[in-house]
C-alpha cells in the first residue's frame, strides 16, 4: 500500500517538479533564536486570511449583493440556513481577529527592528497589507447592509467630500452615483470580494517570498548593529553557526498558535454569535444611532473631539502623513540598533500610539459627546432633587425635562454627558449666571432665549438653583449683595 502511494507521488512529482522546491523551503535554515512565540503573528494572520477566504466564499453562496435583498439574505443566513449564523459569526470574528493580529504583528516587527536592511520592501508591502486589511474591514461592514452600514457610508462620503477640488467626484465615485443606493453596495461587494482580496493574495505572496529569500529576522541583540556592508554576511554566518531547519524546528510554534487563534475565533463565534445586522437600511427611519465597528471607534472619537477648524486638515493630512511616515520608516532608520532595549523612542512611540488608540476606543464606547436622544422623556428627575421643593421649582424641573436639557446634562448619573452634570450646578453658578447661560448659551451650549418664555426661564432657574449638595450653600454674587445692602434695595 505504502509503495503504491509512493509511486503515485512520484508520478505526480515527475510532472509537477514541486518536491524539491518544497523541501528546500521547509529545510531552509533559520536562526535558532527565531523559533520563538514572538514570531508567530505573521503566520497567524495568514491563517486567519485563509479562514476569511473560505468562510467568505461560503457566505457568497447565500448573500445577495443587492440593496433590496442584502438585509433579507443576512436574516436568512442568521435564522433559516443551517449553521449560516455560525459561518457569519466566524467571518465577523475572523475580521476582528485579523485586524488585531495584523496590528500585533506590525508592532512586533517594528520593535524587533525587522524592517531594517535588507527587509525594507517587506515592511513597505506589509504597510499596504495593513491598509488592505482595514479596507476589507470597512467594506465588510458595508456588506452587512444595515442601518450602521448605510449611515457609515454617509460618514465616509462626508469625509471624502472634504478632499480639495476632487471631493465631489470622490464621493460620486465611492457611492457609484449621487446617493447611497444599490450601485453603492454592488461596488463595495466588488471591492470586498474581488479587488482587495486579489491584491491581498498578490501582496501576501510577495511578502512571504521576501521572508523566504531574505531570511527571517534574527532575534535582536543589544549592540549588534545592522550595517549594509556586513549584515548579509553576518546573517548567513548566524544561520550556519546557530541555525536550524525551519521545519520542524520553528514551525511547530506557528502551527500551535495558528490552531489556538482559530479555536479562539470559533469560540467567540459560538459564544457571541454573528454581528448584526442591525435595523433595515431604510433612510426614512431616522430614529437610529449609528456606531462604527470596533476598529474604527478611535476615528469616531477623534471626529468628536477635534475642534471643528482642525477637523478637515487633521482628517485629510493626518492619514497621509501617517502612511508616508510608515513607508519612509525603513529608509530613515534602515541601519543601526535593532533591539528594543536600545531604542527608547521606538518603544515610547508604540506605547503612545497604543495609549491614544486605547483611550479613544474606550471613550467611543461611552461616547460622552453624543446626546442621549431619549433621556428627556425616559429618565425621570430623581426624587431626591424634588423633596421639599416649591411649586415653582417643580415647574422648573418639568421645563428641564420637556426642553430636552436632560439629553445633554445628567442628573443623578442619568442623562447625556455632552454638557456638564448638573447635580451641583447651583454651587458653580449664581442665579444671574444661570439665567445668562440658559438664555444666551455658549461654551458649546445652544442659546435657549427664543425657546423659553420668561415664566419658563424663571421656573427653570429656580429649579437649577436648588441643585446643590446638602450642607453646601449655592453660589451667591457677593458684589451684588454688597451694593444692594448699600443702596437699600430689596
Amino acid at each position: 500500500m505504502r509503495r503504491v502511494i509512493a509511486q503515485i507521488g512520484e508520478w505526480f512529482d515527475y510532472r509537477l517538479k514541486l518536491a524539491a522546491p518544497i523541501e528546500e523551503i521547509a529545510g531552509h535554515r533559520v536562526p535558532r533564536s527565531t523559533a520563538s512565540w514572538f514570531y508567530v503573528f505573521g503566520s497567524a494572520a495568514l491563517t486567519i486570511f485563509i479562514l476569511q477566504i473560505v468562510t467568505g466564499i461560503m457566505l457568497a453562496m447565500i448573500y445577495v449583493p443587492s440593496a433590496a435583498e442584502a438585509w433579507n439574505s443576512l436574516q436568512a443566513l442568521n435564522h433559516s440556513v443551517m449553521l449560516g449564523w455560525f459561518v457569519r459569526a466566524l467571518h465577523g470574528w475572523g475580521s476582528n481577529f485579523m485586524v488585531a493580529v495584523v496590528l500585533i504583528h506590525m508592532v512586533q516587527v517594528f520593535l524587533f527592528g525587522a524592517y531594517k536592511f535588507p527587509r525594507e520592501l517587506t515592511w513597505i508591502v506589509g504597510v499596504f497589507l495593513l491598509l488592505m486589511t482595514l479596507g476589507m474591514a470597512f467594506s465588510g461592514q458595508v456588506l452587512r447592509f444595515d442601518q450602521d452600514a448605510y449611515w457609515g457610508l454617509g460618514i465616509g462620503a462626508s469625509i471624502a467630500s472634504h478632499v480639495p477640488i476632487i471631493g465631489g467626484a470622490a464621493v460620486k465615485l465611492m457611492l457609484g452615483g449621487p446617493i447611497i443606493a444599490g450601485a453603492t453596495l454592488s461596488r463595495f461587494f466588488a471591492l470586498h470580494v474581488f479587488v482587495i482580496p486579489g491584491l491581498l493574495i498578490l501582496f501576501v505572496s510577495v511578502h512571504l517570498l521576501m521572508v523566504l529569500k531574505l531570511g527571517i529576522n534574527e532575534w535582536p541583540m543589544p549592540g549588534r548593529i545592522v550595517r549594509r556592508a556586513t549584515y548579509e554576511q553576518e546573517y548567513h554566518e548566524l544561520t550556519k553557526k546557530d541555525g536550524a531547519p525551519f521545519v520542524p524546528y520553528a514551525i511547530w510554534k506557528d502551527m500551535f498558535f495558528a490552531a489556538f487563534i482559530l479555536l479562539a475565533i470559533a469560540a467567540c463565534a459560538l459564544y457571541f454569535g454573528p454581528f448584526g445586522p442591525s435595523g433595515v437600511p431604510d433612510p426614512t427611519i431616522i430614529q437610529t444611532v449609528p456606531r462604527p465597528d470596533y476598529f474604527f471607534l478611535w476615528l469616531y472619537a477623534l471626529l468628536s473631539l477635534l475642534p471643528p477648524s482642525l477637523e478637515t486638515p487633521a482628517l485629510l493630512i493626518g492619514p497621509v502623513l501617517a502612511i508616508i511616515g510608515l513607508l519612509l520608516l525603513p529608509f530613515l532608520s534602515g541601519e543601526g540598533e535593532k533591539s528594543w532595549r536600545r531604542r527608547p523612542i521606538a518603544v515610547l512611540t508604540v506605547l503612545l500610539i497604543a495609549v491614544i488608540l486605547g483611550t479613544f476606543t474606550r471613550l467611543a464606547g461611552i461616547a460622552p459627546w453624543s446626546p442621549h436622544m431619549n433621556a428627556w422623556s425616559g429618565n425621570p428627575v430623581p426624587e431626591r432633587f424634588l423633596r421639599k421643593s416649591t411649586a415653582l421649582e417643580r415647574q422648573g424641573a418639568l421645563v428641564f425635562q420637556s426642553k430636552q436639557c436632560r439629553n445633554c446634562h445628567s442628573l443623578g448619573e442619568l442623562g447625556g454627558q455632552r454638557g456638564p452634570a448638573l447635580d451641583s450646578v447651583a454651587v458653580r453658578l449664581t442665579q444671574d449666571q444661570l439665567i445668562r447661560q440658559v438664555i444666551q448659551g455658549g461654551g458649546n451650549m445652544p442659546a435657549y432665549g427664543k425657546n423659553l418664555n420668561p415664566a419658563e426661564t424663571t421656573a427653570l432657574v429656580a429649579f437649577l438653583g436648588t441643585l446643590h449638595p446638602a450642607g453646601q450653600l449655592p453660589a451667591r454674587d457677593a458684589a451684588l449683595e454688597e451694593s444692594q445692602a448699600k443702596h437699600g434695595q430689596p
Binding site: S66, A67, A68, Y150, W151, G154, I155, A157, S158, I159, A160, S161, H162, P164, G167, G168, V171, K172, L173, L175, G176, G177, P178, I179, I180, A181, G182, A183, T184, V280, P281, D282, P283, T284, I286, Q287, V289, Y300, L303, S304, L306, P308, S309, E311, W369, S370, P371, M373, S402, K403, C405, N407, C408, R418, N444, P446, A447, Y448, K450, N451
Partner: protein, 180 residues
C-alpha cells in the same frame, strides 16, 4: 550577435507586437475608464429632479414635520435606500425651509425636538436651531437646505443628490437664511 545599431527581424516583430498591444490596450482603456468614471461624469441635470412632498396644508404653519420622498432614477436593486427623509418647516404662508436630515458634520440623521426647537444629531452631538442654523457641536455650518417651490398647492423640492459637507454640497445648498 547583431551589433547595437542593427535590429533583427524577430526583434522588430517583438517591438511591433508590444506597440500593437499598447494601441489595443489604450483603445480599450478609454471605454473602460469611462464606465468606471460614469458616476462622476454624469451631469447633475441628469439626476436632479423636482419632487412633490405633499400639499401645503399637510404642513401647519410654524411647525416642522418629517416628510419622505422617493429619489428620481430609482432602480429595482435599490430597495429602500431610495426613500429619503427631510425636515419641512413651514415658516409662514408659502415660505418654507426644507432641510436634509443629514447632519452637516458627517451626515448622520438629525432629529427634531419641537419642545426645545432644536435639531440634535445622535452621532457627535451637532445641534441646530429651528431655522437650521448651527447652534453647537462639531458642524461647521447649518443644515443643508433643498431648493423648494410651491406649485398648485404642492410643496416641491429639487433633490436627487446626497448632501456632503465638502465641495459638492456648497454648489447646491443655499446658506440657511437668518431669522434674527
Amino acid at each position: 550577435m547583431p551589433d547595437e545599431n542593427t535590429i533583427s527581424r524577430r526583434g522588430l516583430f517583438m517591438k511591433l507586437g508590444i506597440l500593437f498591444n499598447s494601441l489595443v490596450a489604450t483603445a480599450l482603456a478609454v471605454p473602460i475608464l469611462g464606465y468606471v468614471a460614469s458616476s462622476i461624469l454624469r451631469g447633475r441635470g441628469s439626476y436632479l429632479a423636482w419632487l412633490p412632498l405633499g400639499s401645503v396644508n399637510e404642513f401647519p404653519e410654524g411647525e416642522t414635520r418629517l416628510a419622505t420622498f422617493r429619489n428620481p432614477n430609482a432602480m429595482p436593486a435599490d430597495g429602500k435606500t431610495v426613500d429619503t427623509a427631510c425636515w419641512v418647516r413651514r415658516v409662514q404662508g408659502e415660505k418654507f425651509q426644507v432641510f436634509a436630515v443629514n447632519c452637516a458634520h458627517l451626515g448622520c440623521p438629525v432629529r427634531w425636538f419641537p419642545q426645545s426647537g432644536l435639531f440634535m444629531c445622535p452621532c457627535h452631538g451637532g445641534v441646530y436651531y429651528r431655522d437650521g442654523s448651527r447652534a453647537s457641536g462639531p458642524p461647521e455650518r447649518g443644515l443643508f437646505e433643498y431648493p423648494y417651490k410651491v406649485e398648485n398647492g404642492l410643496v416641491t423640492i429639487q433633490a436627487g443628490e446626497l448632501f456632503t459637507p465638502g465641495a459638492s454640497a456648497s454648489l447646491l445648498g443655499k446658506k440657511p437664511p437668518c431669522d434674527a
